[in-house]
Amino acid sequence: MCDTLPVYFKDWDVVVPGELLAEGNYRPGSNVYKEDGKLYSNAVGILKFNRGVVNVVPLSGPYIPKVGDLVIGEVIDITASSYVVDIRAPHVAFLNASEASVKPLNLHEEDLRKLYDVGDMLVAKVISFERAFNPSLTCKEKGLGKITKGSIIAIPAVKVPRLIGRRRSMISLIKSETGCEVVVGQNGYIWVVGENPEDEDLVAEAVRRIVEEAHVAGLTARVMQMLKNKKRKKS
């Protein structure tokens, strides 16, 4: 039934704001709005159809927190009972002292600075976010907390889904080819820990390639080729 209605673009086409994508019985997905039965894009992005749902995968844009997101942020301030964390979103996030670590903190006896100080990078999880209020974070799970080793790479947040890949294919490829431990924050910070700095550089190079070519099909194969070539050169 859907097939008979007009569609003006095909999968993977680059579209811009205001562009008429399709007419009729399709449903608007992300970055698509419907007006008088017509679907328009509201961002610069790549068109993706998914069983009657029209999506535009944006090529740029801010990080909008979602509850449950794993993020990496920098402590920028400390208040009486919480840490202020920059997670590259429109609003700064708060990490309450009661959520700051698995071991509870006694505010009467201990200084908050003992745990994290201004300038520290944290791995945290978003526990609440309402559009008009600041998001709040938790570090009360295994694997969350202060980053003490390795390096951090910053990429645009919109490229994170591509870096992870379908069913984590891209990120597992990078991990297995370089032997590095890689933690991807949904806000576009990537934490890499490798045996030596060269391995971490290799990850950075692969990530840069993914960011630049995120909108071109067949990326996983190209990245695999690149990593294999580099490794051969090294050995």
Partner: protein, 267 residues
């Protein structure tokens, strides 16, 4: 005997006089303008997107000698906090002319005219942005005129609209703008500084072309009702051409890389 025209260069060829000391006409009887264009012809336009690394979005637009750089930051938190709207984003816009953008140095402090144009640009652009998606934040737009040769507010809107799209800020549509004016009795599009200063009418016009919605319409001078209708028609046609160029500029950035990879095949 034909009339011998002698051109006196005042400034950089800004005003042309004939032997009698009268100002030379800005448009000839067969409808050719002082720079050789037809009345409905735009100047050569160049657009590029993503020219600044530090900004979230940026664009550079040239319309003839008018050169504009636009940068967009945000959505980001508002300081002081009480300026934030609880239900939507606040758009802040700064239109500014560089001191070297005109012949005699312009003071870098914001003039009355610049404050007004900042407001006009903000209103022309903010209707296209889906402000409700980012409550209590600010979106900052900076429009810097590097060289001014007429239609700077329209070129500024064209550049800022591209920069907003480049920043990934959700918009209903791109905003395209073009000025229409009346010069020596002719309606002409995309005025130069000379035509703006010596002509009878200047009418800046901006619209979301895909939505057929006008977001800016100013009129400096007098037009009859018929002339006004004709001027709007000309502006819409000019906006269509600019709108197509904007789309092309936004897509080109991604398509060149895609082509080079796909064209190179699997090598």
């Amino acid at each position: 005997m034909g009339v011998c025209l002698e051109e006196y260069q005042l400034g950089e060829g800004k005003v042309r006089l004939n032997m009698a000391g009268e100002q030379r006409r800005l448009i000839s009887d067969d409808g050719v303008r002082h720079d050789g264009r037809r009345p409905d012809e735009l100047r050569p336009i160049k657009m590029s997107v993503g020219v600044l690394k530090n900004a979230n979005g940026s664009a550079y637009v040239e319309q003839g000698n008018t050169k504009i750089l636009a940068a967009v930051y945000g959505p980001r938190s508002v300081h002081p906090r009480h300026l934030a709207y609880p239900d939507k984003a606040r758009v802040r816009c700064r239109y500014h002319m560089a001191p070297f953008s005109v012949e005699t140095r312009k003071s870098p402090a914001p003039s009355r005219r610049e404050v007004e144009l900042s407001k006009v640009l903000r209103e022309a652009l903010s209707h296209a942005i889906l402000l409700e998606q980012f409550p209590s934040t600010a979106i900052d737009i900076f429009v810097e005129v590097l060289e001014a040769d007429g239609s700077t507010r329209c070129a500024g809107i064209n550049a800022a609209s591209l920069a907003l799209a480049d920043a990934g800020i959700p918009m209903k549509d791109l905003v395209a703008a073009c000025a229409v004016g009346k010069v020596d009795g002719y309606l002409v599009v995309d005025l130069t500084d000379l035509e703006d200063k010596n002509g009878e009418v200047d009418m800046p016009f901006a619209m979301m072309y895909g939505k057929r919605k006008v977001t800016l319409l100013q009129l400096d001078g007098k037009l009859s009702y018929e002339e006004f209708l004709k001027a709007v028609d000309m502006a819409v046609v000019a906006c269509e051409r600019i709108y197509m160029m904007q789309k092309e500029a936004l897509k080109q950035r991604y398509l060149t890389l895609r082509k080079s990879i796909e064209g190179g095949g699997s090598t």
